[in-house]
């Protein structure tokens, strides 16, 4: 079995401040997981803001250098400082989709010109007809068409349409892996599901693997094959999506699940979370731990011999 993506024991430490007040932040600590090249899947990374999920995505894209460990895409090491040719080679396989669709395109450039230059750059034989065909095909996959998008500037489209166009741009090179960093929070609730469904159809119909980064448990539960929960840069639980979210084991995972708003609870005026879980998740985040295998295929972080406060 060959791997599409192999993240090996990756850590990232950021140092901020000048000489006097140097501080370092451990953004990602010894993260490791792999995705198979044969079986396309949706791999979800869940965590609160600052949990290191975006830093991990940026390292996979080569925008940040890992402080320790290495990341392999199709058995080749990701190198942010690589030359233009190997960058293009990498981008043909891995494409990003960003959080804010309004920032994903240069406001002064027409969207079809974007798609066109992407097509020209990545297609092996770029003549007029194949470029247009590739643009239209990519737009069809996301439920748009060249006739709809042609000649329009980003401000002339809605957030949902723009996010679809951003995904279409990412699909033009026929990538094996799509890295979607919180692709839905900025679009309307009604469009959220259509984007999530789009990711699912990319996996099922076009064989694209997706790393879906989010803090929204509902959509994660809906589309994930596997998921990984991160807290303060550490993986605390990783495994099959439904298994992990049905019965979360690590206190932080349980805290996340308890934090999901339900209309029933809100209606009953019950929106507080059991303070014991919050305290347990907080204490454990500072204690060393290691990942242990469980029978259902998940791995959970266990924290030394200290008594587990929340059982």
């Amino acid at each position: 079995m060959s791997t599409l993506l192999d993240v090996r024991n990756v850590s990232k430490r950021f140092t901020t401040g000048g000489m006097m007040n140097r501080r370092s932040v451990q953004a990602v600590e010894k993260a490791g997981f792999a995705m198979s090249a044969e079986m396309p899947e949706i791999f979800t990374i869940i965590g609160e803001s600052g949990s290191g999920k975006t830093t991990l995505a940026r390292m996979i894209l080569g925008l940040e250098e890992p402080s320790e460990g290495e990341i392999l895409v199709q058995e080749k090491r990701v190198d942010g400082r690589a030359g233009r040719a190997s960058r293009l080679d990498f981008m043909a396989n891995v494409q990003p989709v960003f959080q804010n669709p309004f920032e994903a395109f240069n406001p002064l450039k027409r969207i079809d010109r974007y798609l066109e230059s992407t097509a020209r750059r990545f297609l092996p034989d770029p003549d007029r007809a194949t470029i247009e065909a590739a643009m239209d095909a990519a737009l069809q996959k996301v439920g748009l068409s060249l006739a709809e998008v042609g000649g329009r500037f980003p401000h002339e489209m809605s957030g949902g349409q723009l996010q679809r166009a951003a995904i279409a741009r990412a699909l033009i090179p026929n990538p094996r892996l799509l890295i979607a960093d919180e692709p839905v929070p900025m679009v309307d609730a009604s469009l959220r599901m259509s984007i999530v469904n789009l990711l699912r159809s990319l996996r099922d119909d076009y064989g694209v693997s997706v790393i879906y980064i989010t803090h929204d448990l509902a959509t994660a539960y809906y589309i994930s094959d596997r998921l990984m929960i991160m807290q303060r840069g550490r993986i605390v639980e990783i495994g099959p999506g439904h298994a992990v979210l049905d019965t979360p084991e690590h206190p932080y995972s349980r805290l996340l699940k308890a934090g999901v708003l339900s209309t029933a609870d809100a209606g009953a005026g019950r929106l507080s979370i059991d303070p014991d879980i919050i305290a347990a998740a907080e204490t454990l985040s500072r204690r060393p731990g290691r990942l242990e295998d469980r029978d259902d295929g998940r791995r959970v972080m266990v924290h030394g011999s200290a008594p587990n406060a929340a059982g």
């Binding site: 293009l88 990003p96 920032e103 994903a104 406001p107 002064l108 500037f153 401000h155």
Partner: protein, 334 residues
């Protein structure tokens, strides 16, 4: 296209309104001034020789009739607009009977050239370096340029002008510090004259450039450092787009749009800066002319200079406005 014509018509109407109110304000301010041009002229004449009180009274009456200062302000205002529409701003009172317009037209090329050249240099230099500084935030050279810009930017025009005057006129006297050209050359299209003009323009232009540079530099640096964090720039970097293309067509072009607005808005300020700078360097432009006219109570000339400046600045802003939709597609759909 019809959108653009509609946009043009709206801006043109605005231009007319701005000119009307600006010129009217100039008219009323000069006519409410406590300096009476008749008395100033009498003072000037009687300082040359002594006249009998009777002669002075007669002169006062003649001058008052000539200048038309005894008519009510509102009827003077009406006459003023009637004459202005045919391009006549009346005779100058100090250089009577030379038309004020002639004096303005003599001084105008000096100011326009100084203003246009120094504004262009400042705008291009400030934005280019500021943009590069925003993109290469950790570069030591650009960091020190930023320090320089921060320290220069708050200094007023006249202080910079005097410092340059002292530095290059007395400490290291290499540049002419007064006038528009040397006495020894004959005005006209000949090489010595052109060189002399350029040589004399260095210090006034430099003082305008030094002061203007800082705000363009700092503004552009801030704009660019915001834009480089946007996702489309990250995407372009990921996709291996050439660095020069990213800086030029993704970052700088987008950051320039608010700067163009800034250009339109600073034109007026730069003009008033030129007035002071010209006075310091005794440059034969509109600024020096205006200050002389104010002190002599020559309100025909003051009005002429201010009306022309209102028209020129408003016109320049109008042109910048017209460029706007060509640069930013988001304006067109408005």
């Amino acid at each position: 296209m019809t959108d653009y014509i509609w946009f043009l018509a709206k801006r043109a109407a605005l231009l007319v309104a701005v000119i009307f109110f600006g010129v009217s304000a100039a008219f009323f301010i000069t006519h409410l001034s406590p300096i009476d041009p008749v008395e100033t002229a009498l003072g000037r004449i009687s300082s040359q020789a002594s006249f009998s009180p009777q002669a002075i009274a007669e002169m006062r009456q003649t001058l008052t009739e000539l200048y038309g200062t005894d008519a009510p302000v509102l009827s003077q205002y009406g006459n003023f607009w009637r004459r202005l529409l045919v391009g006549d701003l009346g005779p100058s009172l100090i250089a009577f009977p030379t038309p004020a317009m002639t004096l303005v037209m003599q001084a105008m090329p000096w100011t326009v050239a100084l203003l246009v050249i120094s504004t262009l240099i400042t705008f291009v230099l400030g934005n280019l370096l500021g943009g590069l500084a925003g993109y290469n935030q950790n570069n030591a050279l650009f960091k020190s340029l930023g320090m320089l810009a921060i320290s220069l930017q708050p200094i007023p025009y006249y202080v910079v002008a005097f410092i340059l005057l002292i530095l290059f006129g007395f400490v290291w006297p290499v540049l002419p510090i007064s006038g528009g050209y040397a006495m020894t050359v004959t005005p006209g299209l000949n090489l010595p004259f052109v060189l002399s003009v350029l040589n004399h323009a260095i210090l006034p232009a430099l003082s305008l450039v030094l002061v203007g540079f800082g705000s363009w530099f700092l503004g552009m640096r801030a704009l660019v450092s915001n834009i480089v964090t946007e996702d489309y720039v990250t995407y372009a970097e990921l996709a291996g787009v050439r660095k020069s293309t990213i800086v030029g067509s993704y970052v700088m072009r987008n950051a320039l749009i608010p700067q163009i607005t800034g250009l339109a808005m600073t034109l007026g300020t730069v003009f008033s800066g030129t007035v002071i700078t010209e006075e310091v360097f005794n440059y034969p432009g509109l600024g020096s002319l205006l200050i002389d006219a104010v002190f002599e109570g020559d309100y025909a000339l003051v009005l002429a200079v201010s009306s022309i400046s209102v028209v020129a600045v408003a016109g320049a802003i109008f042109v910048v406005d017209l460029l706007y939709p060509l640069l930013d597609p988001r304006i067109r759909s408005e």
